[in-house]
């Protein structure tokens, strides 16, 4: 009986409120989406028309196959590239390692479509490299548009994600495990295959899942560089937005198919990784070694080569931002005109990005702390439900969430479409799964007896939370929040669906300038975005005292 009393404290109220928030702002929209997808019949009756249409026209199901091809290829390639990268960065002494790690991070934090646009500038039909090769060597460079381009851009963009996951996993391998393997005669490549890969496999799978979801949901890259090669997010966008014959119900049906697809992959991954899961804790982490000769040279070439490719698009965009422009084309010489134009045309967008981004961030941090606390400390049916519900956005692509929110809140009493608030909500919902995860991880490290000590000393439950638990969580939560912030300001796929002229953000401004062909302004805005990102990351490093990020 006293148990019952104790559980109905202020935390129950907080949990219930957050639960309702999710019911209204996530579950309801997803149900609306589901409903819309099934009402293709005459007079809004239940029918499978949309689904039948989808699977009977190659134009539609072909996009799904395209998405599948892109996503699987990107995931595999990223895993293949990231594993040696992480292994070398952990075990080899690499010159300038600290800077390389920061560069890898920066390269992964920019919106992918900026990479796509930059690669077009470099390798596109009229690209700098293309023209150079053509004019000087008379060599036809391979076509960058379509599948190849998407694969190139997304792989370079997402490999760092798996890399960061793997760096964390490699840190938790105790060097004695490797020494034990060596003492039994397992060395070199065999050691990598027989010992290291199996040990980091659970993390590799987790990272691969994240990359899969990102690649599946990415809208900007295929939109810019895909040309005729249409993937699902592009198709959803076209179906939903296109001014002639945009069809909400059909877009909803495609969304449902994508969610089912993503869910299947998610469950498959969970099934596999549950079988392989174990926990490790390194007393003596692997330390880096100075290698000699060819091995050393190859390792350096691999690391520097990858990072050069990964950072190249951003560098080139930044470079073009300082070029003189005449109308839409770059001319000889340097100037700051592009920046002037960027502030003129994109000033609102910069302001919106900060206002919307920071509001979302405050809510994300507050909710993440509260949710992490209740799901770790106050386990109950309600908090378990909350734990599951908050993770749903993980498998819902951004454009799908955007459509779901629009369809649900485009009429009274909850008329939110067109407001900045709906953008804030979408950012909060999409970002929370990650921030909750990292906050919950911190929460798990705080022993419950610390809180009991506070309570035994007469502090109330709330006082214990604010005086003891929160201050202990805060450093970790803040560093997580900065990463959230960086992700929020580079978000495109949801905001492209939800924005209006008044709530345009920087990524949308960059995107529209690129579409219009105003490359100078786009480059200047992209540079500003990069600078904000870099400053945020520097604050992160300063606050955490770390020189890298492991996920």
């Amino acid at each position: 009986m006293s148990l019952y009393h104790k559980k109905r404290d202020v935390w129950t109220i907080i949990t219930t409120v957050i639960f309702l928030f999710y019911l209204i702002l996530l579950v309801l929209p997803l149900f609306t989406l589901l409903k819309e997808s099934f009402v293709g019949g005459e007079g809004g009756r239940f029918s499978l028309n949309y689904f039948i249409e989808f699977f009977s026209k190659k134009y539609y199901y072909g996009s799904l196959i395209n998405s599948l091809k892109v996503t699987v290829s990107v995931t595999l390639l990223s895993a293949i590239l990231a594993t040696p990268l992480a292994y070398i960065m952990t075990t080899f002494k690499i010159e300038g390692k600290i800077y390389l790690q920061i560069l890898i991070l920066i390269s992964s934090m920019a919106p992918p479509f900026i990479g796509a646009y930059s690669w077009i500038l470099l390798l596109g039909r009229n690209g700098v490299v293309t023209n150079f090769m053509n004019n000087v060597f008379h060599i036809q460079t391979p076509d960058i548009y379509g599948f190849t381009g998407i694969l190139l851009v997304l792989t370079l963009q997402l490999t760092p994600l798996i890399y960061m996951y793997l760096m964390g996993a490699l840190k938790s391998i105790d060097s004695s495990l490797l020494e034990a393997a060596e003492s039994m005669g397992v060395t070199g490549i065999r050691k990598m295959w027989k010992v290291i890969i199996p040990l980091i496999m659970p993390t590799l799978l987790a990272g691969a899942l994240l990359v899969f979801m990102r690649a599946l949901a990415d809208f900007g890259t295929p939109m810019l560089i895909g040309e005729g090669y249409q993937t699902v997010p592009v198709m959803i966008f076209n179906e939903f937005i296109s001014e002639m014959g945009g069809d909400d119900g059909f877009a909803a049906a495609i969304s449902v198919i994508v969610i089912i697809f993503a869910l299947a992959v998610f469950l498959l991954q969970k099934y596999i990784s549950n079988k392989k899961s174990f926990s490790m804790n390194a007393l003596h982490p692997i330390s880096e070694k100075q290698e000699k000769g060819l091995k050393n040279i190859l390792a350096h070439i691999y690391v520097y080569g990858f990072i050069a490719l990964a950072i190249l698009p951003q560098l080139y965009v930044t470079y073009t931002a300082f070029l003189k422009t005449s109308g839409r084309i770059f001319v000889k010489g340097f100037s700051l005109d592009s920046f002037k134009l960027a502030f003129d045309r994109g000033g609102d967008a910069i302001y919106n990005t900060f206002m919307i981004g920071l509001s979302a961030l405050v809510i994300v941090v507050t909710l993440a702390i509260l949710i992490a606390y209740v799901t770790v400390r106050r386990k109950s049916t309600l908090t378990n439900g909350l734990d599951i519900i908050t993770m749903i956005p993980y498998i819902v692509p951004g454009s799908v969430l955007g459509i779901a929110l629009l369809l649900s809140f485009n009429s009274k009493p909850l008329l939110l479409s067109g407001t900045a608030f709906i953008l804030v909500i979408s950012f909060v919902i999409r970002r929370l799964p990650y921030t909750i995860r990292s906050s919950a991880a911190i929460m798990h490290q705080i022993s419950p007896s610390i809180e009991e000590a506070s309570i035994s000393l007469g502090a109330s439950n709330l006082k214990t939370f604010f005086k003891i638990t929160l201050p202990m969580m805060l450093p970790g939560v803040i560093s997580g929040a900065i990463l959230s912030w960086v992700t929020i300001i580079s978000e495109l796929s949801t905001s492209i669906i939800l924005y209006t002229a008044k709530t345009k953000t920087m990524t949308i401004a960059i995107y529209t300038e690129v579409i219009r062909g105003n490359y100078g302004t786009a480059a200047a805005l992209a540079t500003i975005l990069s600078i904000v990102t870099i400053i945020s990351l520097l604050i992160f490093f300063k606050l955490t005292g770390k020189k890298e990020i492991t996920l």
């Binding site: 104790k6 009991e452 506070s454 502090a459």
Partner: protein, 372 residues
């Protein structure tokens, strides 16, 4: 301000799994009372019920005459020391110790003086501005103790406070805890699985197993006259051998071997009708005596182990049973394996248990479980 604790028919259930079925006991004012038992016996559960961190599914806990079942831990006025110390890592030593006082709306100057005084008592006054990460295990332990007693709690609860310390420090700290507890005179409930530690610090010990209290008594009583076979084997080392107790001519005789029997005059009268009673006999290693005379149990040394003060032997009795014996080390040669020896027992020290109930049938058992 120090109080007595009365526990009546206390029940703890996790869902349908009963962990503590019905415990009753009395803890006296100012007493150092220890809950001792193997891991999983329910001792920490019981302590946390007294603290208020575990719910109570039945029975009552009284502080003096007040039932505190439904009082929240904040209002029970307890001081608690945790196994992992639970020092607040973001507060320095002084802030940690003052934390409880600030919750009690005590004026600042008084907080200052009380914190200073207690830090002197636990001898860490020099570290008061340090953060916990800069303290050793023993120092953190002292902070935890100071923080718990500075609020002048009615009861001090300690959950395996020494188990994270190394062996030498553990001995130092247990002496310190005992001294400080005496000085402050506070009713203390202490949980440990280490029987030596329990005997060293406690006024009385409750030995628990499977959620049931087996024996409550002073350390000496529990060691010398354990209430049942479990207590005999859990506290110290002992040999349990099965024998028969016969009543011959009104005398109670324990036959240990064909040519060695001892008269047991301090047996609680059991069933007088039978004159043959199967018993379990607990003989501690030091309760054997190696004798030169031939009227003892014959045995053969299997192995020996020299441990400084004592020398241990494993020997085989004539019926094949193996027992462990301890002798004070002498300057003579250690007995080699294969040596034939003759053994007697210190009959006033050994304990006899009923074969079925495993309860001690020797006179002199003091078990406060029965009283309460």
């Amino acid at each position: 301000m120090s109080i007595n604790i009365k526990i009546r028919d206390l029940v703890k259930k996790y869902n349908n799994n009963t962990v503590i079925s019905s415990i009753s006991l009395d803890i006296k004012q100012g007493e150092f009372f220890t809950l001792l038992g193997p891991s999983g016996c329910g001792k920490t559960t019981l302590l946390r019920m007294i603290a208020g961190f575990n719910s109570i599914e039945g029975g009552q806990i009284y502080f003096n005459d007040e039932v505190i079942n439904d009082k929240s831990p904040q209002n029970r006025n307890i001081g608690m020391v945790f196994q992992n110390y639970a020092i607040f890592p973001h507060l320095n030593v002084k802030q940690n110790v003052a934390f409880g006082l600030t919750n009690r709306k005590i004026p600042k100057p008084e907080i200052e003086s009380r914190v200073d005084k207690i830090l002197q008592t636990v001898q860490i006054g020099d570290f008061k501005d340090r953060l916990p990460e800069n303290l050793s295990g023993g120092q953190q332990q002292r902070v935890a103790l100071a923080r718990a007693i500075v609020i002048e709690p009615d009861v001090l609860l300690m959950d395996e406070p020494l188990s994270n310390l190394d062996a030498k420090l553990r001995v130092d700290m247990r002496n310190a805890i005992k001294e400080i507890q005496k000085e402050v005179g506070i009713t203390t409930v202490y949980v440990t699985h280490d029987q030596e530690e329990a005997m060293a610090v406690s006024d009385r010990i409750a030995v628990m197993n499977s959620g049931v209290i087996q024996h409550i008594g002073t350390p000496q009583n529990i060691y010398h006259r354990p209430a049942n076979v479990f207590v005999a084997t859990f506290i110290g080392r002992t040999n349990i051998i099965e024998r028969e107790l016969s009543i011959i001519n009104g005398k109670t005789v324990l036959k240990l071997d064909e040519n060695y029997q001892v008269e047991m005059d301090k047996i609680v009268p059991t069933n007088k009708e039978v004159n043959q009673l199967p018993v379990k006999v607990s003989i501690r290693p030091e309760e054997f005596v190696i004798t030169d005379s031939s009227d003892g149990m014959s045995a053969i040394v299997i192995s020996n182990m020299f441990l400084g003060v004592n020398t241990h032997y494993i020997v085989r009795l004539s019926n094949g049973e193996q027992v462990e014996i301890t002798q004070e080390s002498s300057l003579d040669e250690i007995l080699d394996p294969g040596t034939k020896i003759c053994l007697k027992v210190k009959k006033e020290k050994i304990n006899l248990f009923d074969y079925e109930s495993e309860m001690n049938i020797t006179e002199g058992v003091v078990n406060d479980v029965a009283l309460s």
